[in-house]
Amino acid sequence: MSEFKFPVINPLLHSELRLKIMVALDSLESADFMYLCRLTDSTRGNVSIQIATLKEAGYIEVSKMGLGRLSHTVCHITRKGHDALSAYEENLRRLFQCEVPNSAEKVC
């Protein structure tokens, strides 16, 4: 009997808020910090921490636009981030198929 390996789930993307941010940035060219707060329905502090974490992992790039009081933070997804999100989604789907009883035999 061949040994089945469970897909590895990226812990960085397994948080709901980080996942929402990554999916939004993957669907857009760029998004403002305030847009991400509104989309995720979260506080600025919370989104700011998650953005810093994603930036540190190299999944997103953050740039400041404008000057002084009018400046705003703009986020873009990187190639690494896009690949990580695709792999995460793929692994989730494989895992989901394992969880469904009827399809369990096919995959696992």
Partner: protein
């Protein structure tokens, strides 16, 4: 959270972002269309009235008025939505390229002395092509149709040569109305209806 929950978050977020993403840019066609058409008519009137060389350079007022208006409406859109899609970037870059080509073409043709023959068919064709491609990208049929019609009509100014060349301006104003003003108003109405 289960894997199903995570997959639902992905699908829901994607649908939310994609669902409302193209409801912007309703004023950009009008910001370029009206200055272009009005200046073309003014230039035509000035040429008919005075018939002096300086009148032919009135077209340079189009970028002078259109660019600040465009920047204003782009900022207004960004303030409202706080995000930029790939489609918006592609469309913006395409129109910036079209604008530069028309301006450079205008100066080059003015210096080369072929201003009367070629500039207005070029402006008409570029506007028509831009309108057509914008319609294709946004899946907005009126822009596609208006783009095709105005591209086909862009040959009309070529028939006004010699002493008749000021009539090119009138033809171009009509073509710009078809390429920018009419689809601009239709797109604006479409967006307003979708936002309510």
């Amino acid at each position: 959270m289960t894997t199903n929950d995570q997959l639902e978050i992905i699908a829901h977020t994607r649908a939310e972002v994609m669902g409302s993403k193209e409801l912007t840019g309703e004023n950009l066609f009008l910001a370029w269309g009206y200055p272009t058409a009005i200046i073309m008519l003014l230039e035509f009137a000035a040429l008919m009235w005075w018939n002096e060389d300086w009148c032919a350079w009135l077209w340079a007022g189009i970028p002078l008025i259109g660019t600040p208006l465009m920047i204003y409406f782009l900022n207004e859109d960004y303030e409202r939505t706080r995000r930029r899609t790939l489609n918006q970037n592609v469309i913006l870059m395409m129109w910036v390229f079209i604008g530069f080509t028309c301006c450079l073409g205008g100066f080059a043709m003015g210096i080369a002395g072929v201003y009367h023959q070629c500039l207005f068919p070029l402006i008409s064709l570029m506007c028509g092509m831009g309108c057509f491609m914008t319609g294709i990208i946004l899946h907005f049929r009126p822009k596609t149709v208006c783009g095709i019609i105005s591209s086909m009509l862009s040959a009309v100014p070529l028939f006004f040569q010699g002493d008749l060349w000021p009539w090119q301006l009138l033809a171009t104003a009509v073509i710009v109305t078809i390429a920018l003003i009419i689809p601009g108003h239709l797109f604006r109405r479409h967006i307003r209806q979708n936002m309510n």
